[in-house]
Amino acid sequence: MTVLDMAQLSLREINETLQGAAKAQANAAYEIANPRGAHAVAVGLDGPLAVTVKGSTGYYCAGMNKEAAITVEGSAGPGVAENMMSGTVTIEGDASQYAGATGHGGLLNIKGNASSRCGISMKGIDIVVHGSIGHMSAFMAQKGNLVVLGDAGEALGDSLYEARIFVRGAVKSLGADCVEKEMRPEHLALLADLLAKAGAEAKPEEFRRYGSARTLYNFNIDHADAY
């Protein structure tokens, strides 16, 4: 375990150290002390590495993550794990806006709540939120799974493509072209696996599944007036 102290080192020094260690493929363990809400902590890691951030972070923590396992022992600011490719990002507290935006893969595990636009334009990432999520979540989500143990805000899954959304609590409203769908055995199995990976104590049967009605995929000349 190597400790990098943000009170002593610059953000660039810390990120360069982490990026180098990830490239070395040694699956080393690092701890980041005194993050104090700093932006862009532990971004662009391209390889196996275990990073624990001892406190809350600001914008864009763990962005573009690949293979690394990053844990934030606090809350995360806007854009956490943006465009993540693989690996695991765990937030012990709450996440702010657009958590996991455009993510291609890996698991984003948020133990608290996530605010608005969670999983916006997600492209294959799995996101598990143990609390609730805000409005416009999974907007234009293309692929992957968004699992919410609490409630969802307004316009969930607006203009959704093929991402799956599972919500245990109440959904304030569904966005355009997002509909509730039947929960089939393969969905229950998928959900059980995601809940187990995220360490979430919930039964798959308690969730409802939402997905795309697929009516917005193509331009429809009959709807020209509406555009």
Binding site: S75, G77, S116, G134, H135
Partner: protein
């Protein structure tokens, strides 16, 4: 972009440290607004029946020399004066407020705000320089709000800096931009409510003040912003007894709050909380869109 901060003390013992805590929070938000900065601080109330007027001058040496005595003689009432850099705080009996404001206007001095406890300090420049000029760290009080500005809707000037005060002991800071401020300015003017600048936030402040003057509570006035103001906003408003927070329904302007047994704090980013006492154990959360929060003593 802009940064906003607010701090409301629950623990009276922290009152002497309010200015220091608020100044530290303000300086961490420099990246979000390096153009200008300002604070409104609710300090110790003046003597009963007294009202404070914060004024500003670009030529303070000439404007403030002997000003208190000259005003006292002109108005026939005692006028206390405390000059701080480009600002000065005048204190008079409540009954003498109207003639004092007239006398100040006649001298071409800018009134930043009035109130029993509120003082406003704002200038162009880096937040750390602004905080230093006015000695904000040494100020005590019960609560205060602050703003670091990255100008979008009007020029980088002292009058364009936040907070804006449009009624006694009321002020507003804003992150965002209002899109119907000209229309609202005309509507308010028809009701006899006038603003002094081209700034969108001043219109927001005037809207809230006019609603309160019409009998609305602070909570109702803040609810009203959701229906009547269009655009992006995270507002933090200060009153004599507390502060309130509201975000527009889209809520793309960031906001985070922290609460302990000692204080309630607001900031655009968590960074501003890093030095607050006991922050590790604080409840930290993001205020919901289109939801009014306020704390009063």
């Amino acid at each position: 972009m802009c940064g906003i901060v607010g701090l409301f003390l629950k623990n009276e013992g922290l009152r002497p440290r309010l200015g220091a805590m608020l100044a530290d929070m303000l300086v961490t938000m420099t990246d979000r607004g390096p153009d200008s900065a300002g604070i409104a601080i609710y300090g110790d109330d003046g003597a009963r029946g007294q009202v404070k007027v914060t004024i500003q001058s670009d030529a303070p040496a000439a404007a403030f020399a002997g000003l208190g005595d000259a005003l006292a003689e002109e108005l026939g009432t005692p006028v206390a004066m405390k000059a701080v850099d480009t600002h000065a705080v005048l204190s008079v009996a409540e009954g003498a407020l109207a003639p004092l404001l007239e006398a100040l206007e006649a001298r071409g001095l800018r009134v930043m705000g009035t109130g029993r406890s509120m003082e406003i300090y704002k200038e162009t420049g880096l937040p750390k320089d602004v905080a230093e000029r006015f000695g904000i760290r040494a100020m005590g009080g019960s609560h205060g709000i602050g703003h670091t500005r990255m100008a979008t809707e009007s020029a980088v000037t002292t009058l364009g800096a936040h907070p804006f005060s449009t009624a006694a002991d009321q002020c507003l800071v804003h992150n965002g931009s209002l899109s119907n401020h000209n229309q609202m300015r005309r509507k308010l003017a028809k009701k006899g409510v006038f603003t002094r600048t081209e700034n969108d936030t001043e219109v927001g402040a005037a809207y809230i003040s006019s609603r309160i003057a019409e009998g609305a509570t602070l909570g109702e006035a803040l609810e009203g912003t959701l229906a009547d103001l269009d655009g992006f906003f995270t507002f933090v408003t200060g009153t004599e007894t507390g502060f309130g927070v509201v975000r527009d329904p889209i809520a793309c302007k960031p906001a985070v709050m922290a609460e302990t047994g000692d204080y309630v704090a607001f900031a655009s980013e968590y960074r501003a909380f890093a030095d607050l006492p006991g922050i590790e154990a604080a409840r930290v959360w993001e205020p919901e869109p289109a939801t009014v929060y306020f704390w009063e003593r």
